[in-house]
């Protein structure tokens, strides 16, 4: 049975095109022109995913999202022209699953819809698109890193470095290996980068960078990722558990 999308946006032309596009991809599509109408349509069609615009007459997207979250856990992707960080954070705080900034390409939006639906479909199972360790959650699709629900602002290279270490927890990576994986084999001589990157990454992700909980240093060999409850004093002198 095809999945149902509900598109709530006041731009009629855009809604019509999105309807046509997603129908062509095999989804069932319902539409609404504002938040109030969107809530009524939601009750009527019970969609699998909602595409919700922020700036709308009668009831804006934020209010509609709050009302939706009172009654349902349906995945919501926000569509907006505002790509300011405060807005993105607001969306995630209110319970949005993803955020797409206009102007977007339809192909990109379709990929996001598929990723979110896939995640919901496999909820409870190990999600290939999510890395989780302790309080730290890395969403590979949206490139979002959170700790206890708080969004952490990593640079693209810091994100890549964290994912490299997290994908094989407990495995010690030498600085050369890290350079090869993060920057490429032609930069293996530039191992000096690694120490600084790790130090700054710890400042962003660790609750206490002086006593790391996630990224540990194996002196003489390299770095490894492991969630430890105890303060990291042993990591310098003893090897990690297998």
């Amino acid at each position: 049975m095809p999945e149902t999308l509900l598109i709530i946006d006041d731009d009629e032309a855009l809604v019509e095109l999105l309807e046509s596009y997603f129908t062509g991809l095999g989804y069932r599509v319902a539409t609404a022109r504002n938040g109030q109408e969107g809530l009524e349509r939601f009750r009527a069609v019970q969609p699998d995913l909602v595409l919700l615009d922020v700036t709308m007459p009668k009831m804006d997207g934020w209010t509609a999202l709050r009302r939706l979250r009172d009654v349902s856990d349906v995945p919501v992707i926000m569509l907006t022209v505002r790509n300011e960080e405060a807005n993105i954070l607001r969306g995630f705080t209110l319970g949005a699953d993803d955020y797409v900034t206009k102007p977007f390409s339809f192909a990109e939006l379709a990929a996001r819809v598929r990723a979110v639906l896939n995640r919901v479909r496999h909820k409870g199972q190990v999600d290939a698109g999510i890395l989780q360790a302790g309080d730290l959650v890395v969403d590979l699709a949206t490139r979002r890193v959170t700790r206890r629900g708080q969004l952490l602002r990593l640079t693209p290279t810091e994100f890549k470095l964290l994912v490299t270490l997290m994908e094989q927890p407990g495995r010690v990576f030498s600085p050369e290996e890290i350079v090869r994986k993060v920057w490429g084999p032609e930069y293996v001589d530039e191992v000096g980068y690694v120490r600084r990157y790790i130090w700054h990454l710890r400042k962003k992700i660790e609750p206490d960078p002086e006593r790391p909980r996630y990224i540990h240093n194996q002196r003489g060999f390299g770095y490894y990722f492991q969630v430890s409850d105890a303060p990291d004093e042993a990591s310098v002198t003893s090897p990690p558990p297998p």
Partner: protein, 388 residues
Amino acid sequence: MQRWRVLWVQTSSGPEALERSVRFVHYLRWSVPVFLSLIAWLFEIWEHVFSTRYAEQRLLNFSAEVLVFGFLGPVLIFLILTLTTRFFVLWKQALLHLHELNQNLEHLVAERTCELEAKNRALEQANRELRQLDRLKSDFIALVSHELVTPLTTINGGLELLLQGRETLPPDAQQRLVFLQGEVARLTRLVGRILQVSRLEAGKLHLNCGPVALRPLLQRVVDSLVQQRPVDIVVPEHLPPLWADEVYLEEMLRNLIGNAVKYTPPGSPIHIQVHPRSSQYVDITITDHGPGIPPDKQHHLFTPFSQIVQGERRESSGWGLGLYLTRRLAELHRGRLWVESPVWDDPQGPGSRFHLEMPIAPEVEPEGDPEHASEEEAAAYAGDPAHH
């Protein structure tokens, strides 16, 4: 004492008061000697005519004393009083003049203060109006850009939909659609850049700084922008990472290297050199073999929407935002951007050299060195299955 003097000058000031004082002193100058002379005459008459004390040589004594006390004495007093009067009048005139000068000065100061206050008020008003205009301009740009964004999404989506079924379309229609898609993408980039400028000017653009390895970033940018052209990249070995927002640093380098590509004739090389300027800053220079920038036009380069225009002819395509944005981003990173031109002796291609100065990432605190282990640690670690 000073207070009393001021009070006296104030109460006895003015030309009428001076005239009254002078008349009074003139009156004293005549009346006092005449009065004293009269007294002296009366006394001498009483002493020598009616008294019996000086019976001998009465006439001689009377004459001598009248001459001294009744005539010479009052004349001397008259002279002293005349001189005193003269000094008094001069002193009073000086005081009066000083008072007038003071009053003039106070008046002048008050007048100038009023003028200055009026000018200050006008300046404040002009400043307020300018700020309001600037805010209105930013709001207008942001509003217009936002209003452009939604139709752009629709147009782009419509083109995507049409291109999905491209096999059914004639080849020239396909070509036109692809061309239109490119134009929409160009317009989208322009709107994005205008929005970025308005966010920057409104102070809403926040950096996400971290260490950035420059050599891989430079190579990535060059690989994506430069084809079929020699590029000479010189980066010193073991250059420490920069301290920057990686996304914005890449954008800055894209702007500068993209400009160098745009203005350098095909086949001519581009030179990119990096050298540490101090322990805290790195200088990235991008040198082209283009037409150069005349010195009198160099300061226009970094103002928004500026293009070097000669008559009706623009020197190049573009929006005139890239260098402005790059300089503002550099300043936001506490760095700098400037240009020198000409660079080469070649009059056909004097070239330009852009200097981007960026901060180096702060040194990290010392920690166990992951590259060197003691022998015991190596031995303990040798049996660890986690290490491959």
